[in-house]
Symmetry: C3
Subunit: 344 residues, 3 copies
């Protein structure tokens, strides 16, 4: 019997099943340094222990996307090894900042199943939870993927489609204990724009572009111990191209969004997201943001913004997302809907 | 007089000579993060402080190959700057895990010399020892290389060919103090297969492939302060190609072997190894393992496996190593014989 | 109004103006590991805590160029976003070593302004100071750049050209507290050559070459949070090439200079520097050094050397810097004039 992991197929999932993902991971300042080398990340709260302390935190946390990618990477061997497509995200919340020295592990509960009409694959919904070494919840999100069946003759399971919130409600966002933007230093953070300067419907063009290299996206993806073949093996796809991990595009776009949203410090909610078109090495990625919603929070001086972050390759135009047919335009790579915390 | 290092030539070595290698090196979590970015390494004992503590260690050590590459890198300016070929390894043993904050240095003793019949070069055998900041032995191995002569007119030294063990005897393997796999968590480690599940002669195909990039192998090789020109300077070889450091292929293959040998946690012995064919950027590396031997150990719940790890580029077939002429097949990159510790 | 940073134009600067640069940065062992992965850096004082302690320091500092690049990177959004050219450096001094855990921020004072005769741009001189979390001065230097005007109709400001020293005087160099090379271990450092072995006028060819990759220079430049578009966006220049950050070439050349100047441990002064020609991925960089001056210091066993470090691409010849017309030869990439500390 083969000892290698064949991955799970559609018929291997059942509602209520909880899968504990392997390989817990201790993170250090090394992962932060690599994050800064791989992405043009400049948010001050994640760059400087001093700045973070002035905001009420004990030290600079690791980027919220480091926590997300680490937790996500663990799920790949169990959830998406035989996935045909990564269909969506919902109900994502960050519960606790992650600091150097923390160890993350994760599990996923199957909350939805629906076989496709072709009988060859189906959609699996899972709620993934990442916890630290004290068992405290760090980040959670729902993700759904289309997975192949192994045995086409098996009957379809009863369809269960979870009811998912269109967005995390502002009052359900979790604020880090002690967070306080009352004495926030806008000059050190890099821009003067605060919560009240952004209006719903406003579009911010982040201007800068980054041309992506094979060595970069592979290093990033491996760093999260995400070993999906399609990202690393140039012989896997017929066209000889390595598909870039969607999370790499998320981090590139988020880092680019510093230019115009330098004070959108912490990510606290993930409302939804689509990897609209594949990204390949050689693409030059740009980003723009639409302000979707605004909310106050209970923390001193802290407001929340709901943002649509769109990453594009060449040809992308800020504000242009879908064509007349309602489909994503061909240059759109990412459409991400998320909540951030920003000084008021 | 030129102040740059010309390297040693064959006539510069003598039996019993001990060469202290330069540039001691302090390792940190940064080197671990880079190791995870450069290789698809997932062994839980090296990824998680919590997992390592549950196995009786004080924290997650740095990968055993980080220790090996660091010690090896130090030897390059003294041993292999004028080497024509890296011929083999033997009698390698890891004596102590390396933790972030440890400082490694190394020396090599010349234990064998044999001039080639052409009078232009000779084989030099050295026993290299890496020690930490407390002077404790961390890793040792014998390596032999073919080195050019500077002065062809010099007479050959008396030939001394060391007697080397074909393999480290299982009872000579050094087990880390406190190591205990009695409560080993197979679920967190990623696979259910234990010592008793592997049979001598069994072949494990590790399935996954990694296409290697110039930026990756150069970063890895520099990280170990190995500055052999042939890895970095595209004008050095006539064909304009940079030869990939053999140790990079070892680490790629070892990391790939997680898929099927996720519980083969610690490397404790190096019995032999050959870099069968050169590896270049663009090659897609795959790996397979043959179980060569099994042994019990004195540590609770800990068994040992002797493994042949073979790395191949395109065209490699698991189990196929040599042609009818006894030579390595052209797609074979690495043939490594080593001992690992695995839960029983 | 656009929220993104348009950068400052020539008319936005005035004499005496002090600009506090954004995004303070905490450095760790992760940045050191990346420095070793990106550059062939081997100076023992920066590689080993033990070696540094034997030289009177509390631990191995981060490379002096890590401090320089971090401080420099912070200035880019304020000083050189609209720069046409980076014209020179002067009066650079390192005041304190930087250790893992330190947080750096920086500000720049405008000390010179001169509009060009074409009325479309002007030269801006700034004195930049990097300080740590205790407000202690870490590194300072003068830099001048040519910056575009936004409004061509504005009158020229009164020209102010600062008087800058041709070189930092030896007696003005700042020596790290406690530095003591009395018991310096030349064997561990890698070369026997000391202060007295170098003669003014001597040329050292550093021999080794490194072929540079896109992924490497972009990772390095991002690591310092330097986000100048021209280094990252292949669509920015008409020729589709990404210009390599001049500081990357400085670090490559300095690291290569280990071979022949292994004991030139600490950089303490920056007298001047020119990025003579652009460097692009694919170039193979080599380096040579001319000994410009020698000085004694008050620290035990410590001497100072003033060095000209020249980086070249293919075609460079050690000692050949300028053509008959007085201009840099086309293969010269960098001409750097700096002070180092070396055992006497």
């Amino acid at each position: 019997m083969a000892k290698t992991n064949p991955g799970r197929f559609f018929e291997d999932y059942s509602i209520g099943q909880v899968i504990a993902h392997a390989v817990p991971r201790t993170l250090s300042g090394g992962e932060r340094a690599l994050y800064h080398a791989l992405y043009p990340a400049r948010h001050a709260l994640y760059s400087s222990d001093e700045f973070a302390r002035a905001c009420g935190l004990p030290a600079a946390p690791l980027d919220d996307l480091i926590a997300f990618h680490t937790v996500f990477g663990k799920t790949v061997p169990d959830i998406s090894l035989n996935a045909v497509a990564n269909l969506g995200y919902a109900e994502g919340r960050w519960h606790l900042p992650v600091y150097p020295g923390d160890t993350l592990r994760s599990d996923s509960e199957v909350i939805g199943l629906k076989q496709n009409s072709n009988g060859k694959s189906g959609v699996v919904w899972v709620r993934t939870r990442g916890v630290n070494q004290r068992g405290e919840l760090v980040v959670e999100y729902v993700r759904w993927v289309m997975v192949r069946k192994r045995n086409m003759d098996l009957p379809a399971p009863e369809a269960t489609i979870p009811e998912l919130a269109g967005a995390v409600a502002a009052q359900d966002l979790v604020l880090p204990e002690g967070l306080d933007f009352s004495d926030y230093d806008f000059s050190l953070a890099g821009e003067p724009h605060r919560w009240s300067d952004y209006e719903v419907g406003e579009i911010v063009d982040h201007v800068d572009g980054v041309t992506v290299e094979e060595a970069e996206h592979m290093q990033a993806t491996r760093l999260w111990q995400n070993t999906a073949k399609v990202h690393f093996d140039a012989t896997f796809r017929e066209d000889g191209r390595r598909l870039i991990y969607g999370g790499h595009v998320i981090s590139v776009a988020r880092a680019l969004s510093f230019n115009g949203l330098a004070n959108a410090q912490m990510i606290v909610g993930l409302n939804g997201g689509a990897h609209a078109n594949p990204c390949f090495a050689g693409d030059t990625v740009r980003a723009w943001t639409e302000i979707l919603d605004k909310a106050e929070t209970a923390a001193p001086g802290v407001g929340a913004l709901r943002l649509r972050l769109v990453a594009c390759k060449a040809g992308g135009i800020p504000g242009m997302l879908r064509g007349e047919d309602g489909k994503y335009l061909p240059h759109v790579l990412l459409d991400l809907d998320y909540w951030v915390l920003i000084p008021r």
